[in-house]
Structures are given as C-alpha cells and as structure tokens.
Assembly symmetry: C2
Homo-oligomer: 347 residues x 2
C-alpha cells in the first residue's frame, strides 16, 4: 500500500479552505488528510432511500435485502481485489443489482402512469471526467451497460429514448421484451398510486414512498474512481420525465482529485442543487473533507428544502460516506478488512 | 437605486476566499464588492459561439446579426425598465431569438442526421432554485415557453420527447407542423455534413462549426436573477442526443446569491465539467468575482480539454461577463446607460 501523503498535501494546496472557519480547524483537517494512507481499494453501494422502517419489514424481507447488498458488494470487491478497474467493478455490481427484483432498476423497475417501464442510467470516470448517460430506455436489459457504452463508444454524453435504444442495439447489448420488467410488487404499487390519485388524495409522493435507485462508486488499486447510477424512476411518472439519474452533475459525478458520488432521492431536488457536482465543488474549492461536505449537502441544503434522499461517495483515499435524510437507505461498503451493510436509520 | 453594500459584505463573509491567494488580493476583491452598487437592471444574451470569422461574413449578414442582437436586447430591456420580472424578460427575449431564422433555436434549428428538428430548452429561477427543462421537442413553436411551464406548472424539472410535447399541448402552448422549422441554410448544412461523413472526412465538428444556441440572463429591479437557454442542438446529431441545454447545471444555472449563467458550445464538455453550476460554486465557495470565475472555466478548464464554447453570466450587482474560447460568439448586454453587442473575437 503506497503512501499518498504528498498528494494529500498537494490536494490541500490546490483546494481552498473556508475563510469563515477558524485556522485551527483548517490545520486539523489538513493534518488529517496528510496523515491518510490510500486504501488498497474501496467500494460503496446504495439500493435506494425512503420511508424504509423496521416495523414495516418482515425478517425474511430484511434478510433478502441484506443478502443482496452483500452479494452485490462481493461482485465488485472481487474485481477490485484482483486488480480490476473501478469501471468494471461499478458496472458489474450495478448489473447484479439491476438483475435483482428487489431494487428499482433493471428487473425491479417501477411503472410509469401508463404502465410502462422507462429506465435511466449514468456512468462517469474520475480519471478523465468522461461520462455517459441514457434516459427513457424500454428494452435494454442492463441500462448501466448502455451508459458505459455511450461513454466509451460514442462522442456523446446523453442519449435518450428510441435513439439510445438503437445505439445500444448497435453496440450488441442484450434487449428484452417489455414484460421482462414486470414484477407484481411494482405493478401493485402503480395501482395503489393511481387509486390514490383518482381519490384526490393523490400525492405524487405517498408516505411510504421509496426513491428507488441503485448506485455504486469504486476506487481501484490504480487510484481511479468510477461512479454509476441506474433507476426505473418514480412510480406513476408522466410525460417522459427524467429524474437526476441521467443528469451528470445531479445524480452522478466522479473526479479522481476529489470524489465519486451516486445519489438517490427526490430527483428534482438533486437536479436543482446539482448535488453530485456540488459535493466535488465543496471539496475542491473549500477543501472540506468528504464526510463534512456530504453531510452539509444532505442535511443543511436538501433537508430544509424538502429534498428527501441520500448519497454514497468515496474519495481518493478510500474514505466512504453514506448520509441520508430519509428514514432509511439500502447501503453498504467494503474495503480491505472492512464491510458494512445497512437499511434503517438507527444502524 | 439602493446600495447593496451590506449584502456585499455578507456575501463575502458567506463566501470563502481561496487560501492559495494572497491576503492582499482577497482584501482588494472584498473592497471592490463592498463598493459596488446594484445596477437597476441588467440583461445579457448570446446567439451561439464557434468559428465565426469576419472574413467569412458579408456586411449584410453581419448587419442582420447585429440588428437581431439589438432587437432581442430591446425586448428584454423594455420589460426590465418597466419593472417587469427577470423571468418575463428572459422568456420574451429568447422567444424573439427562437422566432428569428438567424439562430439555432426555434425557427432556425439545425437538422438531425435523419433530417428532423429536435429542440431543447432550460429555464431557471435564481430566487428559489426552481428549474424546468425540455429535451427532444419536435412540434412546439417556442421551447423556452415549454421549459418555463415545466418549472411553474409541473412537479418535475426535466420532461422529454413525446411526453414533453403532450405536457406542452396540455398547457396550451403553440404547436407547429414539422416544416415550420425548415430553413434552406440549415438543410444545406446537413447535406454538407452528410456528404463529408460519406466521404470519410466526416468529422462530427467541421472547421466552420458553430455551436448554435441562444441564451439570456437577466437581473430585475427586485434583485431576482433568471437564466434561460434554447437550442436545436448539433447538425447531423444522432440517437436522440441531448447536449448541455436540458441538463440543469451544465448549460444553465441561476442563484440570486451568486449568478445566473447560460452556456453555448460543445455540449458534451459543458456537461462533463458541469460548467453552469461550477461558475456558481467558484463564486460561492472561493469567493471569486464573476469575471475571474468565468474566465477560469472557459480558458483554464474547457480550452485545455478541447471544449470549445463560451458563456454569458451576470451577478447580483449586474456585473456582466461574456467570455468565449472560440473565434467568435454572438453576444450583447444592456443595463441603464450601457449597451454592447459583439460577434467576433477582437471586438
């Protein structure tokens, strides 16, 4: 494991410490960063945030989620342990979560108001700030593969709708019939949403709302950070609405010099606050450490504005953060000798 | 005209001055800001950037552009002079430019590789960070009106394709047949692009490429900043590609506490660098003045990366900036007693 002390010092020099903070706090933060060693690798995931309460969850269902989160981390951690790239780790981990019906992405995607599934995904490389995103896919099995293909095989960043599907098909990605995305749980959730709407109690966001998304950020042995996000969007969404997932800078961002981040929550707020880029900016321009910057955005900016959700992120040293202002967030991380998965707020 | 000295001082306190800069420079900047008075109103526009050279332009065509830029400024300035909102000024100014065949937005939109027109627009209010955007419209006469309607009449931020058109129709916006967007110039530009492509010399971005977009940012008497952007995208674009225009934080952003901004250029780079939000972040977190922050992004970040383009922006005092790293940019601004329009680099 190499010492990245010099880089830490350079990062602090390049960054700018807030003039409203005491000099002693800045010195403490600088000292902390200079003392850090880069973790050999690190990976962090989320499976959506929302009103996820222990009392509403059976032990069987809770176990199914914890098992799925651990299995997803296994996929990415093995790639990283063997010296694979963070891009491969993020793609394969998200494919695993897309293929699970437990999460609102790929196979478990929610339904639009018209009873369809429209899937969005994004992928970004912190090494060169290259990025790819897709919005409104209906027949691509793994949207995260399409987002990575846009980044690597096109001159564009954001492809949408039938055009994005044509691109994905040309790239040889697997397509599926529309009923592949059908799951009874999600269909029933749409029926409940439509019923509430017809009764005039139709808040777009019922009390038990979950902001379903999956995301993964990884740091590989070479020091490259990659971030990815994939979602089926909001139950009962209309008008080919895109949330924050295909919007680079809102739901997803990565820069080796600062951090990689994937968000989950009420997408409109994450767009308006450019959350993923803002985390990078607070680190780059104020010199704030990852944890402080992430907590500031989730609790001091989004929460007062009514923007429910959370984020996962890691920095160049492998420090990990997973803050959320909702009751729960499916989440987990792994690095050498460390592993944690969580669902509820009090864990 | 009221003194906003106190607000200036507070802004400086809230902001953070870069620790890598000398204290004397920070003090100078702080003193400059504290001395500033807020302009009664201000408006700034662009009509696209690119390889716009005096030697390729007839005097008649140059005059047509200068007249159109002045007429567009007239529209917005009158609204602001009469105490109207920056939202109305931005919307009406952009409608004027969309209706002109000179600019790549609305009536003058470029063609996709399939010979269609797909229009994008964004609108953002610096007062409450509310925002609206549309992508891939084919039949809405004025996409900027659709973007504002998404902001004001929906719970969403980004609507796309046929869904966005359905929303616009429900809002009573004017629709037009596809041939409304036909102009001979743009059709010929597509034929040239396709021909080059077939000859294998088909760079996506020929030497005479113009990043066509229109944008407007305004500050009204009440101190509210609004930003808007509208475009037909790239000639010969494929796969329902979206550029930076519908991506809030990339091509458009507004925050009364910092600035409003509208970008024009190679959209993929503006997305990857989250340019519009980055300008806000440099001002908020480093305490940099508008001009310094805007020049840094255009010349120190985008230009070395190969991202051609420019931006227009103004801050809470009505300071205006219009930097670009291309040969030219159609641009102009107006505030009480001041007016300037420009096209080429040396002006």
């Amino acid at each position: 494991m190499m010492r990245w002390v010099l880089w830490g010092a350079l990062l602090m020099l390049a960054a700018c410490a807030g003039s409203t903070e005491g000099a002693s706090e800045r010195q403490k933060e600088a000292a902390q960063m200079q003392e850090q060693e880069k973790a050999d690798y690190a990976i962090v995931i989320h499976g959506g945030a929302g009103t996820i309460l222990r009392e509403n969850m059976t032990p069987e269902r809770e176990k199914a989620y914890r098992d799925a989160l651990n299995a997803a981390l296994d996929v990415g951690e093995q790639i990283l342990q063997e010296g694979g790239s963070s891009a491969d780790a993020v793609e394969q981990t998200i494919i695993f979560m897309e293929n699970s019906p437990l999460f609102n992405a790929g196979k478990g995607a929610v339904f639009t108001s018209e009873g369809k599934n429209e899937l969005d995904a994004a992928f970004m490389s912190g090494n060169d700030l290259n990025a790819g995103a897709v919005g409104g896919l209906t027949n691509v099995k793994n949207p995260i593969r399409a987002a990575r293909a846009v980044m690597e095989k096109s001159k564009h960043v954001l492809l949408t709708g039938q055009g994005a599907e044509r691109f994905a098909t040309e790239q040889g990605l697997d397509t599926v019939p529309a009923d592949y995305f059908y799951t009874e749980d999600r269909w029933n959730a749409l029926q409940r949403a439509l019923q509430k709407e017809n009764q005039g109690t139709g808040a777009l966001l019922p009390a038990d709302y979950k902001y379903g998304t999956v995301g993964c950020v990884a740091l590989d042995k070479a020091g490259n950070i990659t971030a990815g996000t994939s979602t089926g969007g909001m139950t009962n969404k209309r008008y080919n609405r895109f949330g924050d997932v295909p919007v680079i800078g809102a739901g997803t961002y990565a820069n080796n010099a600062t951090c990689g981040v994937s968000c989950t929550g009420h997408g409109e707020y994450f767009i308006r606050y450019a959350v993923a880029h803002d985390l990078n900016a607070l680190m780059a321009y104020k010199g704030w450490p990852l944890d402080k910057a992430a907590n500031h955005i989730i609790f001091e900016k989004l929460k007062p504005a009514g923007g429910g959700g959370g984020l996962i992120a890691l920095d160049a040293y492998g420090n990990v953060t997973m803050p959320f202002n909702t009751a729960g967030m499916y989440r987990g991380y792994a690095k050498p000798g460390e592993r944690e998965v969580g669902i509820f707020g009090e864990e």
